[in-house]
Symmetry: C2
Subunit: 433 residues, 2 copies
């Protein structure tokens, strides 16, 4: 670190820990603040369409929580989470083929907190965390915040590539690196929109076990499938080498901040203690809201409604891309919220963003999903939040932006991209759709 | 670290980060699980008496949140927190003399998360965090989890001793240590039950500013005063060198997990980014529940009711101690939840706990509130949760336990205490009253 290079208005500048010294808001973040305006079609944020939840059932649920549980609903709770909610979680996981016991589950403040606690438990500065190429921006932020060495492993339309994984592990070990975690999102990947094939799940698990690397399986989108369900989670084949993360944010509502972890015994005990250190206990009230809703309403039908709704939006987005941006190659997600596009030659997704926002459409530049400098030719397009008509309009606008961009490149040649290394997160804050 | 000394059933034993390698549940923790039984009078946990909240108003509130805010209440929110709730927080803080702007406030998942984020932002392994003697167990756990060197500064019945603080800083600096934070609880201290005098607040602030040490002022109990309000918070005299923590857990309900931080500009920006990395955003729903309750109900009257209720319980505890354990010297808290006792010569609070629980009364041993080996002669007695009659019964039982203990010491001499250094937290989990 060097000091005194620029005028520094922060009197605490020299007090920060090494892990947070580079924690600054990016210029992309300020752009997204602008993108929050109504007239902008945002294909950037991953907000679920919670409007689809029935208001009367919600009112009944919250009222029932207060009347049935009384003051207990407002009290400190167990660090591990409400046992009744953990029963519900077992039922939800069973739909995807994961079987666990109630004691195996730890409730967290969204599965984001689970990633944070796992990184805190396992990552010393310089330890390697293996992630897919690209990977979830929120996980990268966490790993970075514990000073991990984040290493991307190639993926293709079948998900992470086992041979590449094996090679990367050998290469890193040869360099004397300690590899702590392998973080994967097998179902309807954020941001890549691909699903890890069944055969590869076995292979990836075998590699992790052989190499003694803890596999973290993040599965927030598994139940949001369109054409057919995803293969069984990796956790269904192994309960000692896999930590499984689940969430109610996509199947119910993110504003309650309830996710969970299923972990091998020893890890789970430490997770509970780490969670108590961080927040004492997850909110009892929001846990009981979810428990009560899932116990009394037809949650399977609700999730099916979400599936159909998001499928319609994916179809709308794909149709619109075919019509307005035929030059955009992209994945065809079989579920989830996101589609991953590769821009025509010479275009830079980060440089193009201000111009897109001027044209009233927002997306997330691919750079957000890499800890290195990749992703400039990629964009993530989210189809979860805007209605189909708005998606079509947004893609039409994006098509115009891309055509203009191609004209500029043809006239002046590709722009010189900045290559500054920073700790920035080029992704919208969670509330900016 | 040494391996292979004992049979180790944890296959991930060698994978943990240094910061979490000693994270194990203590034997005291298992005892508290037993203490959770109905027949035990627990003077251990700091659970507020939420039964005092009016059920009808709560039902109205949660219903109103769903009806007024609709799906927004269930969506991801701002990392900084709901602006309307931050307005409410300004009003609440104004009662104690803290003035701030809405932009200065960051909402957190209880003020426990605020402590965690501050430690994450500032503490590198080996950095010193100065705390009072004793200090809040939850804060010690957080500082330990970031590998801080926790240094206790003496306190007396006027709070932390400024001369001792100055001396400790010089001593540590002479040893080449980097001091990052000074963490204090000026009002109705947990666990010590004392309040920092007005003159000392100025002096402590002056020292922190002179020495360039960030002062963290934790104030969860300020509004729960009995005889007279506490002096104005330190933050009311300085907005550049103080980070102020507040909470709704004691004035309203801990099960919603809503606290807040008021921090100088640059720190606040980093806090928001760090909080987004940890949990994306605090729960919108619980924020709106508190906002709506405070906007529509008479929260000042509610807090006054809490004050009278806890005052009655403090009085009941003091009367009972006078009657049943006259040999127990203790602080007389002017507010808050806790009283700090010093056991008669030769008694050990940790060793005595199993015998107390056998006699159906629980307390927290003083050792929980020190990062070193102090506190064995102290106990924390919480008067917040049991009704006055139960408090009297609990103190009567504790009196018998202490008398028996004195007999044993007189007959056999003081026991040899274990002096093993560990990372254990000798405090009840949050939900065990």
């Amino acid at each position: 670190m060097t000091y005194g290079e620029a005028i520094d208005l922060d009197p605490w500048r020299s007090s920060y820990a090494v892990r947070s010294s580079g924690l600054n808001a990016s210029e992309v973040r300020s752009l997204f603040a602008v993108a929050n305006r109504k007239e902008v079609v945002s294909l950037a944020g991953g907000m679920p369409f919670v409007k689809a939840l029935p208001e009367t059932a919600l009112v009944d649920t919250v009222e029932r929580v207060i009347r049935s549980y009384g003051p207990e609903a407002l009290q400190y709770g167990s660090g591990q989470g409400d046992p009744g909610l953990r029963e519900v979680i077992l039922e939800v996981m069973a739909v995807e083929g994961v079987s666990a016991r109630i004691d195996d589950v730890v409730v967290t403040t969204g599965s984001q907190q689970a990633i944070d606690l796992l990184a805190k438990l396992f990552v010393d500065p310089g330890d390697v965390v293996l992630v897919e190429s690209p990977s979830y921006v929120g996980a990268l932020g966490v790993f970075r915040s514990y000073e991990a060495d984040i290493e991307h492993v190639p993926m293709d339309d079948q998900g992470i590539v086992p041979d590449a994984l094996r090679e990367r592990i050998q290469h890193l070990r040869a360099r004397g690196k300690t590899i702590k975690l392998l973080y994967v999102i097998p179902n309807f990947h954020n941001p890549a929109g691909v699903t890890l094939s069944s055969a590869r799940r076995e292979e990836v698990l075998d590699i992790a076990k052989e190499e003694g690397i803890l596999l973290v399986e993040d599965n927030p989108y598994g139940l949001i499938w369109f054409d057919s369900p995803a293969p069984a989670p990796i956790r269904s084949a192994d309960d000692e080498g896999v930590v499984y993360l689940g969430s109610f944010s996509k199947t119910f509502a993110p504003g309650l901040r309830v996710g969970w972890v299923v972990a091998p015994h020893s890890i789970r005990e430490k997770l509970i203690l780490a969670s108590e250190a961080a927040i004492l206990s997850p909110s009892v009230f929001t846990q009981l809201v979810i428990r009560t809703y899932f116990e009394t309403e037809d949650w399977r039908a609700q999730i099916e409604q979400f599936r159909l709704l998001y499928q319609e939006r994916r179809d709308a987005m794909e149709d619109a891309i075919r019509e307005h941006i035929p030059g955009l190659t992209h994945t065809t997600p079989g579920g989830g919220f996101f589609l991953w596009g590769t821009l025509p030659e010479g275009l830079d997704s980060k440089d193009m963003l201000p111009r897109a926002i001027t044209e009233l459409v927002a997306y997330t530049p691919g750079t957000a999903f890499f800890a290195n400098h990749e992703g400039r030719h990629n964009i993530r397009l989210a189809f979860c939040y805007p209605e189909p008509e708005r998606i079509r309009e947004g893609i039409a606008r994006l098509g115009r932006v891309i055509r203009d961009e191609i004209d500029i490149v043809n006239t002046f040649g590709p722009q010189q991209s900045s290559t500054r290394i920073d700790n920035h997160v080029d992704s919208p804050p969670p509330n900016l759709g």
